[in-house]
Amino acid sequence: MNNQLLPSQVEELNKLCREMRKDIVKMIHAAKSGHPGGNLSAVEILAVLYKCCMKHSPEWDKSPDFDKRDRFILSKGHASAALYSILAECGYFPKEELMTFRKLGTRLQGHPSCRHLKGIEVSTGSLGQGLSMACGVALGLKIDKNPANVFVFVGDGEMQEGSIWEAVMNASHHNLDNLIAFIDKNKLQIDGSTCEVKSIDPLDEKLEAFGWNVITIDGHDVEEIFDAIQIAKTMDRPTAIIAETIKGKGVSFMENNCAWHGKAPNDEDFARAMAELEK
């Protein structure tokens, strides 16, 4: 792997992100439920991780190197549509299956379930648990001197959960340098802005005070995401990458609007959203 993204890779990733956004809007529209805002803010990070940074493969469970795969944990499990989109893109299951999202009998449960779908490491959805889970995985890998990394994706509203801070302490206490946490700082939660509901700021200073290495980036810039991961991998401490993002990114009327946290677009909204994403 390169230390920097090539211009052609940047172009490909940005193209992929547009396709993922279309998938997300289509899936949530078809399911008539889901979380457009927090899925659309997560796209670039997932694309960079799965396409350029993580060691993984849908066929790896047939290989002796399966244990060496990097692990990804979606603590903000409501961004499942984005995760399913990138997993389908990477060949974990056929793309047509995306349209079964949230429907009876589907492998693509509303929130990711490892008992339903290969490629999901752990079941998530109930907020505040993914970071502890990631710490456990990271500890297990360390015991085995396994060089794999653990990536966990946490929402900013989720940082209000007390158990997150238990895990933050856990990671620094055990010096989990194989743990990299993305915090999707889209600044909104269901009931309003994170500042108004219960402020988590200054998040960078808090995490630093807890012993973490902190990098703040534009969470929609694929190069910044890639570079931050390269730096994080060299650190001798757990790293938090605070990704400044826009909730609903890519669909103008969903952007920065908490009304679109957990609402499916109707047919008219869907047509407008798709038209914008096709541009």
């Binding site: 490491e121 752990v122 959805g125 502890s132 889970m133 995985v137 238990e166 895990a167």
Partner: protein, 320 residues
């Protein structure tokens, strides 16, 4: 046949120490076993494991939610985590972590909680878990076991290490008389044990109250009541056949447990019998109330759970 020890052979021993020792033994033969605690390792006795295997022991501090979910994560790397703290905090504080991060994905995590029941003693109601078995039993994929003595605790811990899936094991704080002969005892997940045969009434119990039920049965014999005593360490899954068979014989069932009468052993028996062989069931335990401070034996007496008190209560009940 499992031999039941009698009289002086029933040596009083610490269930918690037995757990600690067994875990160390297992750790020696199985490098995948890891232990987690939440700042109570000297009480739960996981400190023994920590001393022997510091690289496989994680004190998570006073953070039960983190402890449970970290254990879940560890299990995904092939480790077999044993998580211990007091039953109150293990099940109460971290219930949703156990449900969503351990049982839903069916991860291989063993929760061994100590200080179950009223016999926590002087610490009082805030620390006396009277609801833990109920709230663990309710979760799909969970196996729930309440061993009665050291012999059984040892075998149950060994079983849990072998079994693939989440297990909740509830241990008492107290030193309990050893009832089962270690040479002949075998743990069977699918089997409740008829530890005394009788024809007039069936007493079903587990954990610390087994010895009380046996004492009670002897006292009942003196007043002409022939009680059958069934020990049901596995509250989930229920051994339906043994329970139904006994109920058919005696037509009269009483459950005895160091737990709220709502949701745990008593409820499991009521559910089983009402579906399979409806007979009247009397539930004895803590009656939908909080506990209080007191010495262990005083509390058992106050809440009517000693052999003597049980015999009095049951005699009165059967005469009605």
């Amino acid at each position: 046949m499992i031999k039941i020890l009698q009289g002086k052979d029933r040596e009083k021993k610490s269930i918690r120490s037995e757990y600690g020792k067994t875990l160390v033994e297992l750790g020696k033969s199985n490098p995948n076993i890891v232990a987690l605690d939440a700042d109570l390792s000297c009480s739960t006795q996981t400190a023994m494991f920590g001393k022997e295997f510091p690289e496989r022991f994680f004190n998570m501090g006073i953070a039960e939610q983190d402890a449970m979910t970290t254990a879940a994560g560890l299990s995904t790397t092939g480790k077999i985590p044993f998580v211990s703290t007091f039953a109150m905090f293990a099940t109460g504080r971290a219930w949703e972590q156990i449900r969503n991060s351990i049982c839903y994905p069916r991860f291989n995590v063993k929760i061994v909680a100590t200080h179950g029941g009223i016999t926590v003693g002087e610490d009082g109601a805030s620390h006396q878990a009277l609801e833990d078995v109920a709230i663990m039993r309710d979760i799909p994929n969970m196996t729930v076991i309440v061993p009665a003595d050291c012999t059984e605790t040892r075998e149950v811990i060994k079983f849990a290490a072998e079994y693939d899936g989440p297990v909740y094991i509830r241990l008492a704080r107290t030193n309990v008389p050893n009832i089962f002969d270690p040479e002949t005892y075998k743990f069977d997940l699918k089997k409740a044990l008829v530890v005394r045969e009788g024809k007039d009434v069936t007493l079903i119990t587990n954990g610390e109250t087994l010895v009380e039920a046996l004492d009670c049965a002897e006292l009942l014999e003196k007043v002409g009541i022939d009680a059958e005593v069934i020990h049901m360490p596995v509250v989930k899954p229920v051994d339906v056949d043994t329970i139904v068979e006994s109920a058919k014989k005696t037509q009269n069932v009483i459950t005895i447990e160091n737990h709220s009468i709502i949701g745990a052993l008593g409820s499991a028996i009521c559910e089983t019998l009402s579906e399979n062989h409806p007979v009247k069931v009397k539930r004895i335990g803590i009656n939908d109330q909080f506990g209080q401070s007191g010495e262990q034996r005083e509390l058992m007496n106050f809440y009517g759970l000693t052999g003597e008190k049980l015999a009095e209560r049951i005699t009165k009940y059967l005469k009605k």
